[in-house]
Amino acid sequence: MNTTTAERLDLIQIREDFPILKREIAPGIPLVYLDSTATSQKPLAVIRAMNDYYERSNANIHRGVHTLAEEATAQYEAAREKIARFIGARKSCEVVFVRNTTEAINLVAFSWGRKFLQRGDRVLLTEMEHHSNLVPWQILAQEKGLELDFIPVTENGLLDLDEFQRLLGQKPKIVAVTQMSNVLGTINPVKQIAQLAHQAGAVVLVDGAQSVPHLPVNVEDLEADFLAFSAHKMLGPTGIGALFGKEELLEAMPPFLGGGDMIKKVHLRSFSANELPHKFEAGTPAIAEAIGFGAAIDYLSRIGMERVAAHEREIIHYALEALSEIDGLTVFGPPADQKGAVASFTMRGVHPHDVSQILDSQGIAVRAGHHCAMPLHEKFGLPATTRASFYLYNTHQEVDQLVRGLAKVKKIFG
């Protein structure tokens, strides 16, 4: 898709909004931040929203009748409404605040899964899942005697959809799949997967940790039953994330954690659970963080996710082309038009740690390791890769700096 200049992002203005992007890693060496897949940087609007809350309105939410408590509650609930609108949820009670994507998936596994899955039931995952969409299911499988199946990943980093159809024949109860791989960048056809899974009678959980920050995502359109994502990867603070769940499903699920706020009534030996979404929000939540999350959503909405995605498409096309010219460098995953702005690669003869260390000495922040996807790395026979990832504030010049940095790596390792 081509963007006209009018639709292009104003990179100079956007970069002004992120104070950290002015940072120098050493005197005269500016930061080139290419690790947004791990966590994004935060605009001033988000930092300010959290500060303002602490400076003006700090109070515990719900139940309080003083001014501050009402302000805090209103801001916290307003953030929930913004998130619901952002992902196209019908009702804000379908959005549950959690700490992060990991907690959202654990909530589904241990609330929905404990109630609705029985010995011998099958859970269908993929080989490209982040550990957070593997381990909760492994724990539950051990506890209940479930069978785990995996949609294979092909050589070029795509899901094998023929094999998916075959695995659906075994009637999994739930299909839990990432919409975008944090290693390969692959954008999976989640809508098609959800339709087929629903026809086979399965519930569908989408790991949106990478897709919600980078693409327009609409739960109605995707036909997702659950969608999990983290604020910190989409310009918001750490410590807060969201689980979207269809109202009927959330209603039918038992509480996950017990305590204050999640109850309607408590007796010494029993309780009745609160209404949605509070049923799943036990204890004092991360109030400032939820408000910061709301401010991040405002920021992204003002720019528009279509434009964010278009910018990233341009950057990844440019980056993959530039990287393909470096002798001895291999990028993993599908071609640029099937993936998000993530490039995981190896350099012949140089360990990923050494690559990222030498890049760091030039101010370039990338990540080295297995990126919480050890099974995927095993599949490709790699102990580790180096990963450069891009977001709305990254520029073509920064891609050029990465390429120059990699030239230096080659020089040092001769």
Binding site: P352, H353, Q357, P383, F413
Partner: protein, 132 residues
């Protein structure tokens, strides 16, 4: 920062003197750094006085861990096992001739951890083996 990649480190990474396996051996131990997947196996042969006479390492890892293994093995040949038990973090840093942050320190110390766990005959290599 570039001083990390001193010539000796790059040299030993690219052309190690002690890469290989010893079969049979008197002591063999392997371990990995779960954070980065670096994996190292070290084999030793000792004489009747418990003195190291031959050493080799295998596995994969970054320049720091590989160079550290090579230099460490060079330094322990001729030492008794009791002397090897005395080796510490600082000895490894002196061999490498660099300062390291906490993340890369783990890479540098992995070979010593493996050697000491082998020499002590332990089931697993723990960080406490290489603390000062």
């Amino acid at each position: 920062m570039d001083d990390l990649y001193r010539e000796i480190i790059i040299e030993r990474y690219k052309d190690p003197l002690y890469r290989g396996v010893l079969e049979p051996n008197d002591i063999s131990f392997e371990d990995e750094n779960p954070l980065c997947g670096d994996h190292i196996r070290i084999d030793l042969r000792v004489d009747e006085n418990a003195r190291v006479i031959e050493a080799a390492f295998s596995g994969h890892g970054c320049a720091i861990s590989q160079a550290s293994a090579d230099l460490l093995l060079e330094s322990i040949i001729g030492k008794t096992l009791d002397e090897v038990k005395q080796l510490n973090k600082q000895d490894v840093l002196d061999l490498l001739g660099i300062e390291l942050g906490p993340v890369r320190l783990k890479c540098a110390l992995l070979p010593l951890k493996v050697v000491k766990a082998g020499v002590y005959g332990l089931g697993e290599a723990s960080d406490s083996l290489v603390e000062e």
